[in-house]
Symmetry: C2
């Protein structure tokens, strides 16, 4: 298949550190190329990819301190991709609402991956384009009624995560994530204090969360029972997760995915999570961790988590949440869209009259 991938321009593909969407786009794109597809990646010029790179803008927008009106740049990647629409069998957009108007007017079909949670306003805009083909990253994400083609879970490169057969002694619980109220670090601390377990925490403190961190988290960090490691790189992250007896995922909002759960289980460490968002779809309850109704219940399940087989956790990720399954899922979604067998997808008579390539 001839496939266009439209990436956000904020970070390059793949991103140097953080950047969930650009990371997924990079892995998807490279694997599609390995599988023999002709892929063109529309991304920032400093990206690195096995696909043909169309440098929409010379470098990642984050690196350009002169940029003040960020939203204006959202038109660039869709604009350049859709001008070449007739070169592709399918266009895969990772840029949210910004591709919607273009997807409606060209004959080449687009499939849109929804990478985050709907906001009030984005939900409104997607609602105006509900018949476009969408891919959700979990079933739980489907809070707005749209034409969903498939759920395709984000997958990791499991080769990047070593298997840790045994947790470290003395034992500890791990928390990894942004230090915002939604991620629940305050609940992780409460669970540790209630049970007497040691807790090691790592992650970013965004500017918007500094007040929360200083008021609710910092006073409880004693660096004996409750440790804060700050931001960690990949190796430190894998170590933190792999050496833990269990990882806590005490979120307070319906997070659409939650890669840290996958990363933990890949190292062999089971995850104890709260029943919100995608957690019930990602944790195999009783096998790779536990899905709990309350934060207290999370604390109660720690002993049971220690009994779970660590090898099983890793196998579970291998069979369900690697790049292999992710790209299998996307290929199936592309086929479904191209066969026109997607429910509610408007039949496009325009397809019979492919838009001629614009001579420039």
């Amino acid at each position: 298949m001839k496939i266009a991938q439209i990436a956000p321009l904020w970070e390059r593909v793949p991103p140097p550190t953080y950047g969930g969407i650009e990371l997924v786009v990079g892995r998807l794109t490279d694997e599609l190329v390995r599988r023999g597809h002709e892929v063109t990646l529309f991304a920032s010029g400093d990206s690195q990819t096995l696909a043909s790179l169309e440098a929409v803008y010379p470098r990642a927008l984050r690196l350009d301190s002169k940029i003040q009106e960020r939203p204006l740049y959202e038109v660039l990647a869709p604009s350049q991709a859709y001008q070449r629409a007739t070169e592709f069998d399918i266009i895969h957009s990772h840029v949210g609402v910004w591709a919607l108007p273009l997807a409606e007017v060209v004959s080449t079909p687009t499939v849109h991956t929804l990478h985050g949670r709907f906001s009030r306003d984005s939900g409104e805009i997607f609602g105006y384009h509900s018949t476009q083909p969408y891919i959700s990253i979990s079933d739980a994400q489907r809070q707005i009624d749209l034409n969903y083609v498939k759920t395709v879970y984000n997958g990791i490169d499991i080769g990047n995560y070593s298997y840790y057969p045994k947790p470290q002694d003395p034992p500890y619980l791990a928390f990894l994530g942004r230090f915002s109220p939604e991620k629940g670090p305050q609940h992780a601390i409460a669970i540790a204090k209630k049970t007497g377990w040691r807790l090691k925490m790592a992650g970013k403190v965004d500017v918007v969360d500094v007040k929360f961190f200083e008021r609710e988290i910092a006073p409880l960090i004693d660096n004996r029972q409750i440790e804060f490691l700050g931001e960690v790189n990949h190796a430190e992250k894998a170590d933190l997760l792999g050496n833990a007896s269990a990882t806590l995922f005490p979120i307070t909002w319906d997070e659409p995915f939650g890669l840290v759960m996958i990363e933990s289980m890949a190292t062999g460490t089971p995850v104890i999570g709260i029943k919100m968002g995608s957690v019930p779809e990602v944790i195999a309850h009783g096998k790779s961790g536990f899905v709990c109704q309350t934060y207290d219940e999370m604390a109660e399940m720690i002993p049971a988590a220690l009994e779970l087989d660590r090898k099983t956790c890793r196998e579970y990720v291998k069979n369900n949440f690697t790049i292999t399954q992710m790209v299998d899922g996307y290929e199936a979604a592309y086929e479904k869209v191209l066969q026109g067998s997607v429910k509610n997808y408007p039949s496009h008579p325009a397809r019979l009259y492919p838009l001629p390539k614009i001579v420039s």
Copy 2:
């Protein structure tokens, strides 16, 4: 001609009070309908127009306090307009960068009116779409090298402005505009103090300008020589301008247009302006006012301004800056684009294969 007009959604068309773009779009649209064109206006649902109204969103965005992410809504009007592209001979966009990607991929040509000054970022985005047909609202606005079809000046409905044959006695100078540094109210005051003239000032103080107003303007208002009237409605505005001996336009930036100059001259009051932005194109030097090199020179020209014929000022507006000339200009621009005789406009083989109407 079958014409689509795409208006911003922030205000309804026409706007209840302020809203320069929505005001121009409303006047243009209604006059085109009067001249026999089939016009569809894509705007907020509370708009009032002689054209067919396509209610892109139920009401003006400004009225919806629940909206937090304003930029997302920029896709709505272009999206709905371009899905119907094949119904029109030409699409006239007033929404800046947001129509650019769509204009590039459909066979119906678009003409884009540039309603404001380029920012660093908008200039960048327009630069990526430089071959689209653009209409500037003054020659001075053309600070970025784009494919300009024509300059079409904004026009007023001169019936809305009475003619004031004589200025008021005791005499005064007028200043009308936002109280921001760019509009130069501080220079208007300096000119008045230097010459001993009375000055009457009116206009908005935006939130961002409150500090400037409190520091630089308020201390100089004594309500004897220097008067501040706050915001004024249309009747008060016409009175303020019409009764003045001259209006000062002491801007400090390259303003692309400046409707207050037209409004003043329409009442018969000449304008003394600084040589920046569109001023030299709008003031007929020595006839309807004076274009000065410095603010001091503006002060020196006041006596000469009193000698100018007030009827000539009004005639000058009647012949150049009313809705009639504005719509004449736009009709000519549409013709130019449709004949494909616009310099650099890419020949669109797509035009030979009109995009079939999408069955929904």
